[in-house]
Symmetry: C2
Subunit: 127 residues, 2 copies
DNA sequence: TCAACTGTTATAGTGTTATTATAACAGTTA
DNA sequence: TAACTGTTATAATAACACTATAACAGTTGA
């Protein structure tokens, strides 16, 4: 899977990386159990520092989305897309509430929110 | 409207403030045209610095959600909840895509996403 | 066994951001 | 004039983001 970063973005580099990997998994570009590039390899490929990649991987590991093995490397979790972490429930609620509130402040009512969600799920290909 | 901040939160103080104000508007606690506390008054009330409040207000002004008048003070935009800023469309798409992707990685499929959205809109009271 | 690869840890430097603290400025209003 | 608005400027501290080296420990293949 192709990963890109924009050094001029306001979003931090490691956040760009982790978001792209999450999107790749959701989209099916990355399959459960699939290997990810090594921290050194990806850093070299992207022209950034090893630790920046390591931090992105560390956050994904913290969320249970990838599995890191000290000697074997990094891969997508086998149970991702299936198992739900209960601790994530509150985080998800808070993020969606913020999106709904901000959307309402910008003229997105419930119908428009739902239509946009439907459209984006179609694009991603989620059932 | 009651505003609170948690200095131990990972979220920045000004981000907490702006999110709560957006939620207050969405929820109807704050009405279009309604006055907001002065930067000094709110800072004093919350026990934080004037500039931190000022930054929260500045970001909300940037998003067109509040109106700042150098001498009259701060108030909620009159057209908030109605008018849509076209520039916000891309931001909204990106944020929702990220939420969908992250949700999918944590076991939230489309049905669960939609159900949660319905539930939260009911709680907020959006039509 | 040796070399090459994994992620991890440590240390250090630089630049940016978040927050606080004062102070002054300019416009409005009673 | 006095008291209130937001704004701007300056400075200090702390935390964060990113980079640069270097070393460590486990695994794997030649």
């Amino acid at each position: 899977m192709l990963l890109r970063i924009d050094v001029n973005s306001e979003e931090t580099l490691y956040s760009q990386l982790s978001n792209q990997i999450k999107y790749g998994i959701a989209r099916g570009y990355l399959m459960p159990g699939e290997d990810l590039p090594s921290v050194r390899g990806l850093a070299s490929e992207l022209g950034i520092n090893m630790h920046t990649v390591s931090k992105a991987y560390a956050t994904l590991k913290e969320e249970g989305i990838i599995i890191i093995n000290r000697s074997k490397g990094v891969k997508v979790s086998d149970e991702v897309l299936i198992s739900r972490d209960d601790d994530y429930g509150k985080i998800f609620d808070k993020k969606m509430t913020e999106l709904i509130a901000e959307g309402l402040c910008n003229g997105y009512d419930k119908d428009q929110f739902m239509n946009k969600a439907n459209q984006l799920f179609d694009e991603i290909g989620g059932k």
